[in-house]
């Protein structure tokens, strides 16, 4: 089956892509570029760097603008998926949704409307197991955004290592945070992994942090041969 992957550049969309590629062909990555930092579904600090990730993966990216206004975003998502269907003859969509019924149900409805299959291969996955599997399989993921107490600025730009996962597990027990960031507590960006033909090296980045909310914004990066 020819599939399009809803792609934010974070660990979940990258790993959903990896599962989709086991027995299917991923024809394109679909990225919504939101103009609003308040976007409900699509905003991530390094969304524009998905172009570099797509090159590293060797998969075409379809970038689609959205103003990031709450329900309008869904129209934009539908338009992006319809464009991907028309341009790349995809038969289905893959998302990295784990627990968000809000997100999964909306993508399912859009796919039904467009007569496309819809797959959420990380659906209901144990979040800590998922993080450990990423590490074990050799994905290099950094924390690109934190949005909850008690995350301090030391988390920004840090690699999602076994040590960091253990720390997230403790925060889950103590503060009930979702260790995978399903509740919007944190965002990630994948620099390298088994799927990547080249790895991404960050040359210059900027941190913004205040009151348990911060972002690690990649300003300059390059692709490096592996």
């Amino acid at each position: 089956m020819r599939l399009g992957v809803l792609f934010s550049g974070g660990k979940d969309s990258v790993y959903a892509c990896r599962l989709a590629m086991e027995a299917n062909s991923v024809s394109c990555l679909i990225t919504l570029i939101s103009e609003s930092p308040e976007s409900y579904m699509f905003h991530t600090p390094n969304i524009r760097c998905t172009a570099m990730q797509a090159r590293a993966l060797g998969i075409t990216r379809l970038a689609w603008p959205t103003r990031g206004v709450k329900e309008e975003e869904l129209d934009d998502l539908q338009a992006a998926i319809a464009a991907a269907r028309d341009q790349y003859a995809i038969q289905g969509i893959v998302s990295g949704a784990i627990e968000s019924v809000y997100q999964a149900a909306r993508v399912q409805r859009i796919c039904r409307e467009l007569h496309l299959w819809c797959f959420n291969p990380l659906w209901q996955a144990d979040q800590l197991d998922h993080l450990r599997r990423l590490c074990r399989e050799g994905y290099h993921t950094i924390i690109s955004g934190v949005y909850a107490y008690p995350f301090d600025s030391s988390w920004l730009g840090a690699e999602l290592s076994e040590e960091k996962i253990a720390a997230l597990e403790l925060l889950q027990k103590k503060y009930k945070i979702n260790p995978s960031g399903e509740g919007g507590e944190l965002e990630t960006f994948v620099l390298d992994g088994p799927l990547f033909k080249k790895r991404i090296e960050v040359l210059r980045a900027e941190q913004r942090y205040a009151n348990y909310s911060g972002q690690y914004i990649i300003r300059e990066a390059r692709l490096v041969e592996k």
Partner: protein, 211 residues
Amino acid sequence: MTAVEAKGDILLLDLASQQAHLSRYELVRPIGSILQKAGHACHVIHYSDLRPEDLQECGGVILCGTALMDNGYAENLSAFSWLKDFCRPVLGICAGMQVISAAFGGSIVSHPSIGLEKIDIIQASPLLGGPRAIEGYMLHNFAASLPEDFMLLAGRAEAAQAFRHTVRPIYGIIFHPEVRNRWILESFAAGLAHNRQGSSYETDLCNESSQ
């Protein structure tokens, strides 16, 4: 999930139209993970690979749902004729509920629904408990009618949300219990464990249905 078949394991039947379909990660694996975390062994078989000995060796069967676009099971209903003579506990989820209905003379009906919906449980059962409202995650284009010899637990007879056989421990639910209702899977598995320990869950079910 183990590939080794152990007697008394819960058999998860994958109803996808193809083996090793991408949908198994979404619709089969979570069921297995929940059961395993609750301490119950289970293994997965695609319905096209099901052998009589698999049924003889398992403690009970869960018929898993399929992707929204995947209605292949409805074109292979003869593959589920074993349900008529199977006496161990069965739970059909979504597509699984539909094949149970069809096997017992009911119908698969057009009834699309996606997202969380209120479910009014109107009849007590060992699996779902007493009458009350719960919220369930729907992901289907089709639902199932209530067959003869089945009791409505929730929904309407033309498009049931939950039903059970009046005598045998066979249940169907149209919603996906891995979202917000993991307790249903744990309750089903706990019933099987009860069975293996000697007291008959099936008999309990039969007794209750005849009350």
